[in-house]
Amino acid sequence: MSLTPILMPQLGESIAEATVIDILVEAGALVQAGEDIIEVETQKATMNVTAPCAGIIDHYLVQPGDSYAVGETLGLIKPSSEEIPAHEPLSQPPSTQPKPEAPTPEPASPSSLPSEAPLRRSEARVKPTIKGLPVPAHITGAQYMSPRMKARMHELGLREADLAGVAGSGAGGRVTIQDFERFLSDLEETRLTRASSMRVAVADAMQRSWSRPLATVAQPVVLDTLLAHRSGLDPKPGPALYALRALAMALAENSATAGRLIGNQIAHPASIDIGFAVEADDGVLVPVIRGADRKPLQTMVAEYNQLVEAARHRKLPPQATGNSIATITNFGTFGLTWATPIPLPEQTLVLGLGAGRKAPYWDEGKEAFIPVLEAQLTLSFDHRVLDGGAAGRLLSRINALMSDPKHL
Amino acid sequence: MLMARLLDERLAQLYRAGRIFGGVFLGKGQEALSVSMGMVLNRQDVYAPLIRDGAGRLAFGESALDALRTCMGSPMGPMRGRDGNVHRGRPKEGYLPMISHLGASISVVNGALMAKRMKGEKKFVGIASIGDGATSTGAFHEAINQAAIEKLPLVLVVANNQYAYSTPTSSQFACQSLSQKAIGYGVSDHEVDGTSLTDCLKTMQDATDRARQGEGPQLVIANLLRLCGHGEHDDAHYISPELKASSVGADCLKLAENTLQSDYHISKESLEIWKEETVLEINQSIEQVQREGAPDPYHHSWKSLISRELCEHS
């Protein structure tokens, strides 16, 4: 009886090869059909290759640590009964993307197989090691929205994100107009309240901002010196204003960290205008203090307080909105210790100030833990413009300025 | 004839001055034959002139103004700029506008004659003018055959000017004379010296009389020579000098002038006056046409059907 090849199966969309991690069953052993015999790893997950039929593994052709292409023969098995493995079509449609070595793409019909490919290719089944790992959707079709869909969505003011929960029944899993209309009619059963225009505006801004790769770094800042400094002032600047001033001074020293990436160019800020988040009604407003690097802390208090009042009542003057290069957000007032805020879509940076808590601090001089009031400073940034190092240096500088506020 | 010749000369001038778009085709050498056609026709008849029938058109009733308007693309002309040069006519007046496909106009004349017969009109006739080249077309064959079967009062006039563009008659047909075709179709034939005005008038009268009387189609073959290029873009260098020197190459206009002077005692001065008057008329017409300007493409009716509701927007 002839030997049946054990082939590297199709392991998922756009997977062209996998690395053999481990041979699970040695040559010479008797296996059942479908039993795990080789463990392989792809970029996405670790999976097992299973025996195409019951029988004795004759020999392997692979080494752990090496990579093999989808469809390649990994070993040979001697079927144990007259039952010759049936040639069934793949459970998944064959990849429509060309293999790296083949110059011409295969035909994209889901119901036909390439004529030369050995039918045995279909045998081995993939059992993911981690149960429930989703097999990625067919890219051709999954994200396609027909003109009619787009027009209807536009008509209703919906965006792609709003349909995230809609399962598609169309080709390649795409959302068809029928899925969409069903989704809409189901919505009619749901209690709906009208989102305020503020809410819609914030949603739009956050959606646009999120289209960038954002990252966050954090450092604790000890507030004791700052609070002591503050107690001696009248009127008293809020902690957020200290952070604002520190950020402004740090950016004045190196404004490239607040630059914006446009194509392959960095657009540099013209003026150190910093915004700060104020909760108002159903959303957030961001009034702006212009040229905050040139205004000492004390001189900004009145302006800051006026702007907060105006923002709360949604009466910000136009010159105090827009065109800021970074934002401060003081979510500590909500009792949050740390968070990863999302910068405004036109900005690269947002500095967050968490709630202050008493925490033990190792004092090297005293060689003891002393209680201090500590808050988390978080800096969320567009990772295309700066990396951890630059973000870290910026944050450290802000930290240093806030820890020794007499220079602010 | 004079008008036709002088008009032609003027058109050639305008063409060379770049004032005419497209091609210009003259009828030099065929004026005698052509004018004879126009002169034997009545208002209720049908006339399908061809490329070199400037004289016939004028004789049938076209004004020099209309001829110039069409050649110069005036929106006031009968074709309103939609067609030009010799592709002009007034169908409802029996003056059919040709299309470029030679021989195609003959069956149109047939149809008009069939219609007149169905309507009960009497003693009408239709003249279709073609050249030696058109006798090779399928359309010619079908139409003369059709006219013969239906015994229509068609007078089919072939101006055998020896060349179809650069093609001599030896490459156009193999029979000895075009008039031999008549017996093949079962029609009557006439052959005439195309350079003689008197002969042409006589033959055309004879042919149309017979047709009017119900003797069926008449094929008239006129022998002459084209005294110009196929179009004004053509220098006609291929025309055989022997032919030019022979009797068929005589200028019918000069011959007519001679005849007028010798047989009809018209003075040279009279001829000069006629020439001057004609040139004046032509110049005035040209001035008028030039004032008429060009068709306005943005205020033009771009509809190809008379049923507006069935026109598609483009």
């Binding site: - | 049908v46 067609d83 195609a104 069956s107 149809g111 059709q146 190809s304 509701e309 069935l310």
Partner: protein, 321 residues
């Protein structure tokens, strides 16, 4: 009482001959013989001198029609098979179609073209040429699919002051029957929703209408409801009705017996994509005859042109995408 598609054409001509003295019929064998398909049977007797036999001269037949039209007549030219009309193509497209544009004189001629395939017809007795005539400006092109339309559209065509190419389908001559002749009709240029539907619009005309309706019936059993649009005239094309239908269904299949390159299907799809792009839920598709001359053997012929089964497969394709 029932009337066939062919009888409807004959009755329409009888009506015209009777009510309009300007009408006459000219074609090969139309006189005493009554026409190759008997479309003019007995008419020569009833209307002496107005139903005339022509020699085999399509160029002269059509050219003479133009001349007669200039003189005020309303000729109906019966071309024996649409396939032979190309012999007279020059007179149609350069003489008849340009007369009004060039001279403001209308050309009210009607050319009847027995079109379309029948089993065993072969390459030169089966052609559908509406696409080539529609291409030339100055012509109206009719493609009646029903007995009623064969009647009323022919009468309207002859009444129209413009040249009309009347593509009557030979297969429907004796196969299609109706209860009676209609009293009224949609005007020329308007398409008709032959079957209301929901899941896909199928735009078609002439004999293909019946194949599409058959396909629609079968698919209905599977819960797929096709909306079938009968164009009636392919030039002018009733773009409004087509787009309104696509607005309802979001999907389009065009089915025609003509050849694939250019043609009615291509024209419809081009317009729907340009004017109704945002109505489409899937790329519009078409199904045509194969890009070869029409085969003679009935077995070959049966797959050469679209039929209910291939139309269904094409619809499924549209629904799947």
């Amino acid at each position: 009482m029932s009337v066939t598609y062919l009888e409807a054409i004959r009755e329409a001509q009888a009506y015209l001959l009777e009510h309009d003295s300007r009408v006459y019929i000219y074609g090969q064998d139309v006189g005493a013989f009554g026409g190759a398909f008997k479309a003019t049977k007995h008419l020569a007797n009833r209307f002496p001198g107005r139903v005339m036999d022509a020699p085999i001269s399509e160029d002269a037949m059509i050219g003479s029609a133009v001349g007669a039209a200039i003189e005020g007549m309303r000729p109906i030219i019966e071309i024996q098979f649409a396939d032979f009309s190309t012999v007279g193509l020059n007179q149609v497209v350069n003489q008849a179609a340009t007369l009004f544009w060039r001279t403001e004189t209308p050309c009210p001629i009607t050319l009847r073209l027995p079109s379309g395939g029948t089993s065993g017809g072969g390459p030169f007795h089966s052609q559908c040429l509406e696409s080539i005539y529609a291409h030339f400006p100055g012509l109206v092109v009719c493609t009646p699919a029903t007995v009623e339309d064969a009647y009323s559209m022919l009468i309207e065509s002859v009444t129209l002051d413009d040249p009309v190419i009347f593509c009557e389908h030979k297969y429907l001559y004796y196969h299609l029957k109706a209860e009676s002749l209609p009293k009224d009709a949609l005007p020329l240029g308007k398409a008709r929703i032959a079957r209301a539907g929901r899941d896909c619009t199928v735009v078609t005309y002439s004999a293909m209408l019946h194949e599409c309706l058959e396909a629609a019936e079968e698919m209905s059993a599977e819960g797929i409801e096709l909306e079938v649009v009968d164009l009636r005239t392919v030039k002018p094309l009733d773009t409004d009705t087509i787009i309104a239908s696509v607005a309802r269904t979001g999907r389009l299949l065009c089915a025609a017996e003509g050849w694939p390159w250019g043609g009615v299907n291509a024209e419809v799809i081009s317009r729907v994509v340009a004017e109704g792009f945002n109505l489409l839920d899937a790329p519009p598709q078409r199904i045509n005859a194969k890009d070869t001359p029409i085969p003679y053997h009935p077995k070959l012929w049966s797959v050469h042109r679209p039929a209910a089964a291939s139309i269904m497969a094409a619809v499924r394709n549209v629904l799947r995408s």
